[in-house]
Amino acid sequence: MTDQFTQHLSEQIQQAISEKRQLQVAGSQSKVPLALDVEEVSMRDHAGIVAYEPSELVVTVKAGTKLTDLSAALAERNQMLAFEPPNYGDSTIGGTYGCALTGPSRPFRGVLRDFVLGTKMVDGRGQALTFGGQMIKNVAGYDVSRMMAGSKGSMAVITELSLKVMPLVEEVTYCIEMPEDDAIQLMNKMAGTTLPLSACAYFEGRFFYRVFGEHPKQNATPCDNQIWLTVNPFQPKLDDNQTLWRVDTEGPAPSIPNTLAVGMCGQRRWVISDTEPALYATQWQSYFAPRDRDPAPVAKIKKGLKNVFDPHHVFTTL
């Protein structure tokens, strides 16, 4: 049984295949603008909560739902998206999933795909598919729903997502002035203790950490929770000739020259550099541009999987 929107998508996809046009899935275009030579699959109006069971800790939502709307609905029942997705301005849950974006809570609560329980999608043949479900535990079949987090619309149009939600907690932020390397060490040491941390960062000479629930008195300056919106999404003002890199690394790794911000217990660094600074570095301005740097066996697998879902290459690859 398919709904009207799925039916419409299916027809759009089949028509594009027959007319040899490429499709780009787009939500609010807050992260990726529409390319010039492609047709848009617009998800903007496919919005709203399909089902929400606070006591089952599960929400099912249409992919075009704005993060702000979803978070507000969850907050009404004292719940939240624990992966703290960055909002680039009207960002949708579908776009956030497509780009697999997680916020500062990552080391403590996990990444976006950890909270994905199920998806509905229309693949590159125009075929409606369902993977996973609304259950927190489910190991029937390959975990396609989690696999596609980060696929940037290149394999299928995700129409619906079921997500695990968590209780909202009271959080307070503290900060201490210190050198960057000391902060990186300290945040990792603290993360190995039972202090209930939910975020750590280093920004403009200060080490920031966020604590939730009952916790001992801290020998640090209380500060505004606003700092977490400053680093998530991290959008610093850059000069024209500056290139910003997102570097994902081991938490305790030493500081990298010209770092603007350290997040996620040191696992994420925002670095200004003319050349690629490390293995897991991404030139941020072109994060959403196609890249080709996987080792051969992995590249072959990814290409193969793309072909499984989109054999006609009707979807753009980012």
């Binding site: 795909r113 190991v139 696999m147 990792n188």
Partner: protein, 478 residues
Amino acid sequence: MNVIQELKQAFQSGSVLSDTEQCTPYECDGLSAYREKPMAVVLPDSIEGVKTALRICKKHQVPVITRGSGTGLAGGALPLKDGIVLGLSKMNKILNVDPLARTAVLQPGVRNISVSQAVEPYGLYYAPDPSSQVACSIGGNVAENSGGVHCLKYGLTVHNVLSITVVDMDGHVSVMDEKDDGIDLLALMNGSEGLLGVIVEVKVKLLPKPDTAQLVMAGFDSVSCCADAVTCVLEQGIIPAGLEMMDRFSIKAAEEYAHVGYPLDAEALLLCEVDGSFDQVKVDTQRITALLQKNGATTIRVSQNEAERIALWQGRKNAFPAVGRFSPDYYCMDGTIPRKQLAFVLEQIDHLSQKYQLEVANVFHAGDGNLHPLILYDANKPDELEQTEKFGSEILKLCLDVGGTITGEHGVGVEKLDSMCHQFPEAELEIFHAIKAVFDDSGLLNPGKAIPTLHRCAEVGQMHVHNNNLPFPELERF
């Protein structure tokens, strides 16, 4: 040379077993109702060894069944008569522990519990704790995406693995890391039941050990009352570390076995554990106690010390062997259901129990909806295993009908192939087969497991059309 001769030439003596007697210990996994002796067993002790074994098997087109400790409950490591078992038990070293980064790098044969034991001096532990944790291997945990009692709060295996190294049938080695861009291959490999590659190294996340834990035990005079109490706890924003429910039969069996003071007059028992800092645990315990009281708990007991907490868990942790004492054999099911459907599902299971004349005890991971009905049977009685499997299959259909799934944490293996036909339509199954072909075009890795053929489903489908009775037509399907 045939495949066994070639393997024997490539490996040291003792690393390739081909005598019937030597292969016997490998003829089944935790699902012992299914048995098959493999052609041979290869026990490599390095990644190079795995690559060699796979290349030789590929050359001879011989199927490979990868095996960790063989504790799986769905027959995922069941050998094939004309296949090789690739046992990874010799690859059992902890390669690196980084206490500051809170990570450990492990060979696949490392036992689950030995990770936590090794990192205890740093105040750390590895969170996923399947009930077989003293024996099961980390490689098997990844292949099955194993859960455990604490996974509502701390997640399944997929949430606690940072990176894996995988070898394919051609001997190519790939690293799949949480930090990779694009398609999440690491997530896909978790729970892929040995069909997509051989996992030869695993990097896991370690967590700080909580300061303390406290257990609240509560009896209720109805299952629905107990389920409502759980709902209330979760709605109030408390995520307990453990949240276990038992039905009347399980309570009785566990109490007779472990003598821990479970209330024998209760219809349902809830064990609710909170952990964390001393302050948080104190606050949470008080709140939970009040909520359970408000929701009609007939008895409440709060553990006053570590010894009492562990003692109270003993009944639940031994629930399977305790129930097992009532019968020569038992069959453990693994469906998941929305908690709000629990009372209805247990009622239906009770009806099925009468229909099949087989007793059932139910234990339930109440936080995440994972139901483990234990069907008691006697394999020596003619047809009783077959009846038990039919009963089990009906329970799984019931789980699907209320919006759940056929397996929460045990996997599909060979056991639930028919039930997979009920859970997934043809298009999704075709996609699964295509995914397998991308990783393993020769189809030699654990063939015939986890994903049923369309032909098989057609036969299963015909069987149900013949019966022509859709269960619970009054239910909304979702």
